[in-house]
Subunit: 425 residues, 2 copies
């Protein structure tokens, strides 16, 4: 079937406005490691997909799924060892205060639970998030997700603060003054809640502010923001759905920022594409939630999901993928910074492990966002066999998050192709 | 590891109040067809699990998952044929007005979307549900789910109506008068919304009222209830998460009730345990939702999920499982009615296809619910190798929903064991 026929069928069966990448959409049929192949047999270097974090169709994960799917797949109202083995292994990677786990199927479900857990624990309702984010798609979680349009929340329980942008910095500030200014925005949000008589429940942010555009976070900002929230009686929910599982060159996105979340949520790469998500939290918060809410998730924590998730953790460990993300990530950043020296369109280069943002601008002094050019770059890269996407408040940040087994050779192909595309623009 | 050690680990890693079946919880290790096996090698006849609807670990479904998981598993921002093949096959089973599909991972997600879709379409907020139900676990959907405790909804947008119980019938009524009385309750709910200035969005119910206790629905009730809702500007959402995919001896639970939903939701058995759910609706409702909400679900509609779901539909068709549910279901009902003649504890026997409710009472005249005895029966059946559970407003309805390949021989084991247990009680 031609791509045109497939697209017609898609619109007819699934309706309009189903997000689709690229002016010439890709019809993929195969994935392997960092490569995907389309229906014409053409291979693309995957610089976008963080979900298949240990590589597309990693045989260890596929085997784990097949073996367990052929043995038993049932809900957690029976005892099964897989969920316990997984919980022990996963929880051992966190600060010891984060000692309980709940499993679901999607990051949205995890954030929905996390918000309710924070509200129940604190007795508050108010949630602080940033002004350009996305945390998922349930009715509750969508109230935070302003990145794709107005959230139309009329409950008065959401306060959005400016995300900690050190490139288009608040009032042009720098250094500690910039950190002070962004922390003051948290204080102001707390004050607005207070004046409206809304008790604070907590703050929910991605610890690397990935959807906002992956900024270089002003020094000490996150720890100070969290301290302000806690001082006002709220808890800190870290949405690690994108930042988790080695993506940043550390196992968790909050590591190295001097702060331990009260609750954190996991998803996307957790089982390499098999639908699994988690809420990890301080025991007392999970116990309080569980004691007050009859929460049961039919598919959550089933033996197949847990086998897949366990295989992912094992592969990350055995193949040294966190260290690879760190070292290849540094190599990519060096390459991108070299590109910046040659291409004026590149306003800012950002990276953490194997997660990169490249802020494209029309004018380096004014930092005028270049969303059209960003779209052209993304589409031209696809034509030249390298897939990525864009993100950010202004839609002008190239977003790159290849599978973690990304090699230096893969990196050089990405850098070289991007150099050519920027040169030909 | 002993069951005691596993339970200790479970409490420590997952927290308290994780629902678990039976006084002596089952540690299952294997499933095959209608059988599950525990860690000691003991086999149990599965009369409970509707999720593995074509049988535990059906080789066709396992193969479909393995094959696709080894080929490609990615989100729907690329074109893939599996979701389109599945959509065509699934939609062909419904009334032609139900012509669009959205895929997610859990029934909760599907009902969350369905409620928002109804609200967006009608411009209303008010949802009618029953007073003893469960539709899922997101913040929004939990507001309807009063079966496991108070919902504590303070939005004024939920009206609960008495579920259509023809056993403990409203005011002791019968026949058309009973239908009239339950429909009048819908009218009253609409009137309460109207007086409170809440515009009606719709009614969300399971078309067989499974969680309420699977009643013999008063003649013509559902169609008249839906007509009342539509006349007041609302839409009808059928939650077919339990009633779908052949369970009732028809493919869909709403069939034969003289009504076509505007929106319906699917889940649990949809992919035999692989996390897949769907919203199916009239095209204009999905198009309106999609045009107003940037909805994207990372795992929803991935090629592996669609391969699994497609295999389930094919197996249901090829193995004649709907007809089997109908004929074996009738056999079970006959057997249960024979038991009722011998055991006074049985107040009422209900069944639709391979979904059975048996209402246990202390006193047949007063119909006094017997929840303690119900629990004893469930636990004693488990000891004798047949697993089931209980449900209903009073916790006194034996709940049985075996995998669809349940045979007459399986049925006779169920009936015989239940006869023995009731005799020994």
């Amino acid at each position: 079937m031609s791509i045109e026929q497939l697209l017609e069928k898609r619109e007819r069966l699934l309706g309009p406005n189903n997000p689709l990448f690229y002016d010439e959409p890709l019809h993929l049929v195969k994935g392997e490691g960092v490569w995907v192949t389309d229906a014409d047999g053409r291979r693309y270097l995957d610089c976008y997909n963080n979900v298949p974090c240990v590589g597309h169709c990693h045989p260890r994960v596929v085997d784990a799924i097949c073996r367990q799917a052929g043995e038993l797949n049932t809900h957690t109202r029976y005892v099964h060892v897989n969920i316990l083995t997984y919980a022990e292994k996963l929880l051992a990677t966190f600060d010891p205060t984060l000692n309980r786990m709940m499993l679901g199927c999607t990051g949205s479900e995890a954030n929905d639970i996390a918000m309710r857990m924070a509200k129940l624990w604190t007795g508050g309702e108010g949630i602080i998030c940033t002004n350009a984010t996305y945390h998922g798609n349930t009715d509750l979680v969508m109230r935070l997700s302003s990145l794709f349009g107005p959230t139309d929340d009329q409950t008065g329980t959401i306060e959005m603060v400016p995300w900690p942008d050190s490139y288009r910095a608040l009032n042009g500030l720098k250094g500690e003054a910039l950190t002070d200014a962004y922390v003051a925005e948290i204080d102001r949000a707390i004050e607005r809640f207070s004046q409206a008589g809304v008790k604070l429940a907590g703050m929910l942010v991605c610890p690397i502010y990935a959807n906002e555009g992956l900024p270089n976070i002003p020094d000490g900002y996150l720890a100070r923001a969290v301290a302000a929230v806690r001082a006002a009686g709220g808890v800190f929910i870290a949405d690690e759905v994108q930042s988790g599982f080695g993506r940043t060159g550390r196992l968790w996105g909050h590591e190295g920022q001097g702060v331990v979340p009260d609750i954190l949520t996991l998803g996307k790469p957790m089982a390499n594409g098999h639908p699994v998500s988690a809420v990890v939290a301080r025991g007392e918060l999970i116990d309080h939630f569980r004691s007050n809410v009859m929460y049961f998730n039919t598919f959550g924590g089933n033996p197949v999901s847990c086998a897949a998730a366990l295989a992912v953790l094992e592969v990350i460990e055995e193949e040294g993928l966190v260290a690879n993300a760190e070292s290849v990530g540094r190599h990519v950043l060096e390459g991108f910074n070299a590109l910046k020296a040659r291409h004026d369109l590149i306003g800012d280069v950002r990276g953490k492990g194997l997660f990169f943002g490249m802020d494209l601008v029309l004018d380096r002094d004014r930092k005028t966002p270049a969303p059209k050019e960003t779209s052209r770059v993304v589409n031209e890269m696809r034509r030249r066999g390298v897939i990525m996407s864009s993100i950010g408040e202004h839609g002008n940040v190239l977003k790159m998050r290849p599978p973690l087994p990304f090699s230096k050779a893969n990196a050089d192909q990405l850098i070289g192709t991007l150099d050519d595309v920027l040169g030909d623009l």
